[in-house]
């Protein structure tokens, strides 16, 4: 991050470099962000707050809305927790061990980013749906219902967000100095103690930022969930699907209130992750 700062100072000293100069490019870029991003966001906030905070609270605390929001929050939190553990484990295996198929596994980690989330939902229904081979067996033999139930929501969120923790932890783990781990081993610490006391403290920032980013994405997820959840109000209807229902039934108040709550959460989480990540690099390269 030091190069661009130095570069910026130099650029200002040099005479105009591009034909239209700094002013035009900067205005074009800022207008583009304002038109695409800021104006629509402002409109939602204005509409959500139009009738005051009390009305907003009333809309969100209606039983169906409240159940939808709670479902989105806890399924996302559960996903983020599982993702933090499995993502860290995957990163650890990819960095520390060599085994056949390792580069294939490394490539598979990115697959969920390339697959449209609606397609993800379809895939899960095809495999784990009640009429499908695996899903039917699980339901008959074990009584586990996955699709059109809450486990399906968590499963879809796990699929979609798998890369985030792995890709946040992997480079940090790779750049980690192994000397402290070796020192701990020399002093007689067992492998688990070494991981918990030496390795993990160095990784908590990337784990947290990866898990939080996936949490933020999961709260608003729609494409995969609308296919796998069955959308039963009060039971398997998430916040995003609730908004869709309100939009379709032209209930502007309900849609705006829930949208605003979701937007505010996304906003805070994204800025917080951004802040976390900016703290990271100094400690990383020991």
């Amino acid at each position: 991050m030091t190069t661009p700062l130095r570069g910026a100072v130099l650029i200002q000293d040099t005479p105009r470099r591009l034909p239209w100069g700094r002013w035009w490019i900067q205005s074009a870029a800022l207008t583009y962000v304002a038109l695409l991003l800021l104006i629509p966001l402002a409109v939602i906030f204005a509409d959500g707050l139009k009738d005051g905070l009390v009305a907003l609270w009333q809309s969100v605390s209606m039983p169906i809305a409240w159940a939808a929001l709670r479902l989105s929050l806890w399924t996302s939190a559960l996903m983020a927790a599982i993702n933090a553990v499995m993502g860290t484990m995957t990163a650890y295996v990819l960095v520390r061990y060599r085994f056949p198929g390792k580069s294939l596994l490394n490539g598979i980690v990115d697959l969920p980013l390339a697959i449209p989330t609606l397609v993800t939902g379809v895939m899960l229904v095809v495999l784990y749906g009640p009429q499908a081979l695996v899903g039917g067996w699980l339901e008959d033999q074990l009584g586990w219902r996955i699709i059109f139930a809450r486990p399906g929501i968590v499963l879809a969120l796990l699929f979609i967000n798998f890369p985030f923790v792995v890709r946040a932890v992997q480079p940090v783990l790779q750049g980690l100095n192994r000397e402290s781990e070796e020192a701990a081993a020399t002093l007689g610490a067992g492998p688990f103690t070494i991981f918990r006391r030496v390795t993990l403290p160095a990784l908590w920032l990337p784990i947290a930022s990866g898990a939080l980013l996936s949490f933020a994405r999961a709260i608003g997820e729609f494409g995969a969930i609308v296919i796998v959840s069955g959308n039963i109000p009060l039971r398997t209807q998430t916040a995003a699907i609730y908004v869709l229902g309100e939009v379709e039934s032209a209930n502007r108040q309900g849609a705006s209130a829930m949208s605003m709550v979701m937007l505010s959460l996304a906003f805070l989480l994204v800025l917080f992750v951004d802040w976390l990540r900016r703290r990271a690099p100094k400690e990383r390269l020991a």
Partner: protein, 294 residues
């Protein structure tokens, strides 16, 4: 890719080091960890992919071809690609400009702007569509203006393009920014010293260096645009044959129990996105030998 692109090129000056630290019992621990990770990936990711392939071909290859050659499906694919192409064209120009501004200039609020760019990753697509409805819908804020101009945005192509533009906003900037940062400005200064104009410097010096970031940004934008669903559903309405993209067709086909058609279209859409992303990555690795995914 926010999280990913900035952090990926790990510095590993010592090169790969011997893997196992503690010798005792490490064979079992290692096997257990690797086994767990592979099982997780198989259940979560590979199984469902295999399931979709099997599901699409459950009634044979001919049924897939028949399902995909319905006029509705062809119209949906054409509309989807058209929207994605417009999106890519807009972001290629303005996303690069945005990356340039964020890397090269300091101004008030630049850090906030840098954080805000990632917002579309976290905003629910349904909310994106709804925002546009509030602006351009029948009772929207801009409705009188649109009426005066005889323009139709909601439930028409322009609205769907806007929704896709919003959702794909971060990709271009996030791919170009790290490359631009790493490139620095020394070579541009050299070119300027030698008398090249700003425009010439950009095309002959800066742009070639940015090429892979630029191409990768375009591919990711395109792939993401192909798969957009929630925002396009809300603002476009999914009118069969008119504002129905591939994702909307899949959704309707599932609803109407046309399973083979839904699975086939989903398979083709997923395969196109995958091929684009993997293909670009292979190309880039071949050219640079850099082990970097996203």
């Amino acid at each position: 890719m926010t999280a990913l692109s900035e952090q990926t090129r790990p510095a590993d000056p010592a090169g790969p080091r011997p893997a196992d630290l503690a010798p005792s019992g490490s064979f079992w621990r290692r096997g257990l960890l690797i086994g767990l990770v592979i099982a997780y990936v198989a259940v979560l990711i590979l199984g469902p992919i295999a399931g979709l392939i099997a599901g699409a071909f459950s009634e044979g290859f001919a049924a897939v071809i028949l399902a995909l050659s319905q006029p509705d499906v062809i119209a949906a694919f054409r509309l989807t690609v058209f929207i994605a192409l417009i999106t890519v064209a807009v972001h290629a120009v303005f996303g690069t400009a945005l990356a340039w501004v964020l890397v090269r200039y300091r101004f008030r609020g630049d850090r906030l702007l840098n954080g805000l760019i990632d917002l579309p990753f976290a905003v629910s697509p349904v909310v994106v569509g709804y925002m546009l409805l509030l602006l351009f819908g029948r009772t929207g804020i801009l409705a009188p203006v649109l009426e005066a101009l005889q323009l139709r945005v909601a439930f028409a192509l322009p609205g769907m393009v806007l929704a896709t533009l919003f959702v794909t906003l971060p990709f271009m900037a996030r791919e170009v920014m790290p490359v631009l940062e790493a490139f620095g400005i020394e070579q541009e200064q050299a070119a300027a010293t030698l008398g090249a104009s700003g425009w010439k410097t950009f095309w002959l010096v800066t742009f070639p260096a940015l090429r892979w970031g630029f191409i990768y940004g375009i591919i990711l934008t395109f792939a993401r645009a192909l798969g957009e669903f929630g925002a396009v559903l809300v603002i476009g309405g999914g009118v069969q044959g008119r504002t129905e993209t591939v994702t909307l067709f899949i959704f309707r086909a599932l609803d109407e129990r046309q399973y083979v058609a839904a699975y086939s279209a989903a398979l083709v859409l997923g395969a196109i996105s995958l091929a684009l992303v993997i293909g670009t990555e292979l190309l880039r690795r071949k050219e640079r030998g850099a082990p970097r995914l996203f």
